[in-house]
């Protein structure tokens, strides 16, 4: 414990001692009474005088601040607590204990966390000198410390430095596995086993930067932070283009304008997508490319994943949240009810919901309960209960933030909705199977025939859901991708698309700039958007802009 004296005096002109925060104190506990404080102070000062006159230099020569605080326990007993340094030399402690324990209100000696009773220093014995602390606005000569003939007090002010919040993260065992940077289904199947083993081995949340490094070095996935204004998501997982069935690179984009604690949650969510939905991502990539010639394919796929209650897309997101929740509260601790049953606080065990809420506090920014003590227990219980009811009730009015989303996921998992962590099975697998069948079907047809087949399928599905096919006609913009309708367009039907990339000398992808066809075949000439539209007026355009890391990379070339 360090105590230093501030260079500037307080408003009362007194020197000020600044105390570093301490975690624990050795405490002497008393039954509270109106007249107790002065009596205890007298006994304590006598003990300090004894210490100052002790024969042993080891007892005499020391710095010994004494604190006082109050606490009401679960039996509604009001207690007065004298706090001494945790590592106080035993003979010195014995002198104080012998003096104070004589008092009839004395209950016990204990070690207590300082968060529980908020102790404040009131007197300090410093190598033979006695220091009495007074409030900052009183002048030194106006302070009346207790009258003790053998003591001459120096009057000072006192300041307690606030505790800095401890980081809730711990370094994990780094996995030994090193995955390649390009992923096929075979590599993914192996990689996901290692990722799941890593999740199982987590003792605690591991923190954003560590997770980025592990994901990159061990699991072969690139992570970039994205800050362009058009990136209106928290995170994104994307595959590189593949025109010839070669393995693809996987990249995760994270919203830069987030606190690191939230980035950790988002990264865990996107990694969970990789573990659970990589085949779906590969399929989506294929659909994207086939849709340049057969745009109805994308329309049909969007229709499949966005209809139903809940929609497959919502299910996919929930699954990723569920797995991501193990990065926040690790598997060894689950289910929480096996732990809460062993805890007794204030004559009852906390509920698993309350425990989840409490574990999540330090992992999310902003709330006061990131660091809490027993004093707050009632409020913590009330808020945990209220938040879990809110999350469970859902609906439009439910609070919407990442915290509530993850709280919902952990409570879902706690109720056993996720199978064993080692073998999580996506619930929206039927979309994948359905699309595989459709792809097989259209593979045997010529493009014109395939398009009318898909139109029929979409119409039937839309009719069953009470929609029309055109409800899914244009999803015109997503991150770094934009669909521009053809010049000649009837407003309803879909037209083949010309896939355009910004030309290298227009890396920002400015609309008026130069673009070239996205293909690995012979280099296409670059042209302006207008030129491309005039070239094929009955074609739509799909514009692929560069992500900010790609722009930076190009700028360096």
């Amino acid at each position: 414990m360090a105590i230093r004296t501030k260079p500037d005096p307080d408003p009362g002109g007194k020197a000020v001692d600044v105390y570093d925060p301490v975690e624990f104190l050795r405490t002497l506990v008393f039954n509270y009474g109106e007249e107790l404080k002065p009596a205890l102070v007298r006994l304590l000062l006598n003990a300090l005088v004894d210490i100052s006159h002790a024969r042993s230099k080891r007892v005499r020569d020391r710095d010994l601040p004494v604190r006082i605080g109050e606490y009401t326990n679960s039996l509604d007993m009001r207690l007065l607590i004298i706090g001494l340094p945790y590592d106080l030399h035993s003979p010195a402690f014995k002198i104080i204990y012998d003096a104070l324990s004589k008092h009839p209100t004395f209950i016990e000696v204990n070690s207590s966390s300082t968060t529980d009773f908020n102790p404040k220093p009131f007197v300090r014995y410093n190598y033979g000198k006695f220091i009495w602390y007074a409030d900052p606005f009183t002048r030194g000569d106006e302070v009346r410390p207790p009258r003790e003939p053998k003591i001459s007090f120096e009057i000072r002010g006192c300041e307690l430095k606030r505790k800095t919040a401890r980081k809730p993260y711990h370094a994990p065992e780094p996995p030994e596995h090193r995955a390649p940077k390009r992923h096929s289904e075979k590599e993914w199947a192996e990689n996901r086993v290692h990722i799941l083993r890593f999740v199982e081995s987590l003792k605690d949340a591991c923190g954003y930067k560590r997770l980025v490094k592990i994901i990159h070095d061990n699991f072969g996935i690139f992570v970039y932070e994205e800050n362009s204004p058009e990136f209106a998501q928290y995170g994104l997982i994307r595959l590189s283009s593949s025109f010839d069935d070669k393995p693809v690179a996987v990249r995760i984009l994270i919203q830069r304008n987030l606190d690191d604690r939230l980035k950790y949650v988002v990264l865990a969510h996107e990694l969970a997508h990789y573990v659970l939905h990589f085949p779906m991502l590969l399929l989506s990539q294929l659909i994207e490319q086939l849709s340049w010639a057969i745009p109805e394919l994308e329309q049909y796929y969007l229709q499949l994943i966005s209809t139903g209650q809940p929609t497959p897309l919502e299910q996919i997101e929930e699954e990723a949240d569920d797995l991501a929740s193990f990065f926040l509260i690790p598997p060894w601790i689950r289910p929480l009810k096996k732990i809460t049953g062993m805890i007794l606080e204030g004559r009852r065990s906390p509920s698993p919901e309350e425990m989840v809420w409490r574990f999540l506090q330090p992992l999310f920014p902003e709330d006061q309960f990131a660091e809490f003590g027993w004093n707050d227990l009632d409020e913590i219980r009330a808020r945990a209960l209220r938040d879990s009811i809110r999350v469970a009730s859902g609906g439009e009015d439910a609070p919407k933030s990442l915290f509530y989303r993850m709280l919902g996921a952990i409570l879902r998992v706690e109720k056993g909705m996720l199978e064993e962590i080692t073998e999580p099975q996506p619930r929206a697998d039927w979309v994948y199977e359905n699309m595989q069948q459709v792809l097989q079907e259209i593979g045997n047809r010529d493009p014109k025939d395939a398009r009318s087949f898909l139109k029929g399928l979409s119409d039937r599905n839309a009719f069953a859901e009470g929609n029309t096919r055109t409800d899914f006609a244009w999803s015109n913009a997503s991150f770094c991708r934009e669909l521009v309708p053809p010049l000649i367009w009837n407003g309803i039907d879909l037209y083949p698309r010309t896939p355009l990339d910004p030309a290298l000398y227009n890396p920002a992808g400015l609309a008026e700039g130069d673009w070239k066809i996205r293909a690995y075949q012979a280099e296409s000439p670059a042209g302006t958007l207008q030129e491309w539209r005039e070239w094929k007026p009955d074609h739509g355009l799909v514009l692929y802009r560069l992500e900010s890391w790609q722009r930076k990379y190009l700028a360096r070339l």
């Binding site: 408003p11 969510h269 997508h273 994207e288 966005s306 997101e317 006061q368 915290f403 913009a477 991150f479």
Partner: protein, 205 residues
């Protein structure tokens, strides 16, 4: 003429305090419900300016995105807008001092009245800092307001405050704090909560 820096950014419930640099809110709005309320107020304020547009993240066929829970907005952030948002945060803190559990539901008239009062405050005589401290400290007595300000970095170092001492440190002593509060009371900007000492203060409604 000083060039106004315009920054375009995405603001969400999870990041608005950081992105809009609302340090006061970060420090004092330490409750998720109050943060929700403050975000609603800020979205409402931005709604009335041209600086906001709703962000839309559409479904795409070829990637999986973690969408923003709730409302995300794009803001064209200017220094002027940043300052007015800081005023909103201060109003929110001051309303919390009135014991209004959900300041987000406070009427627009009340908010306008508070903002008008804030515009009357002078930074060069410490009035603004004193009123800010009323919203920041737990028990706003003259002593705790003084402790909150004295000997810490000046909040408006370019404001030419008469109480600023050596390298932008606040030197507002207790007597000056009491006089400032009395002056603000006479102008009906603040009022006493209790009629007996130690007086606690709040802003007038």
């Amino acid at each position: 003429m000083k060039k106004t820096k315009i920054q375009e950014c995405l603001v969400t419930r999870d990041n608005f305090m950081d992105v809009l640099a609302l340090d006061q809110a970060k420090k004092f709005v330490r409750d998720r419900d109050h943060a929700d309320g403050l975000y609603r107020v800020i979205v409402e304020v931005l709604n009335r300016t041209d600086s906001r547009k709703l962000s839309q993240a559409n479904a795409s066929s070829h990637d999986l995105a973690l969408r923003i829970p709730g409302t995300g907005i794009h803001v064209r952030l200017t220094n002027l807008l940043r300052d007015s948002l800081r005023d909103i945060v201060l109003c929110y803190l001051l309303l919390m001092g009135h014991g209004i559990e959900q300041p987000a539901l406070a009427s627009a008239a009340l908010l306008t009245h508070l903002l008008q009062n804030l515009s009357k405050l002078r930074k060069d005589v410490g009035e603004r800092c004193v009123v800010e401290s009323i919203g920041e400290v737990e028990n706003p007595t003259a002593e705790s307001i003084c402790t909150n300000l004295l000997d810490v970095n000046c909040r408006y170092p370019t404001g030419g405050c008469q109480f600023m001492v050596r390298s932008a440190i606040c030197g507002l002593h207790l007597s000056a704090t009491k006089e400032t509060l009395a002056g603000l009371e006479s102008r009906k900007i603040v009022e006493k909560i209790l009629a007996v000492e130690p007086y606690s203060w709040r802003v007038t409604r």
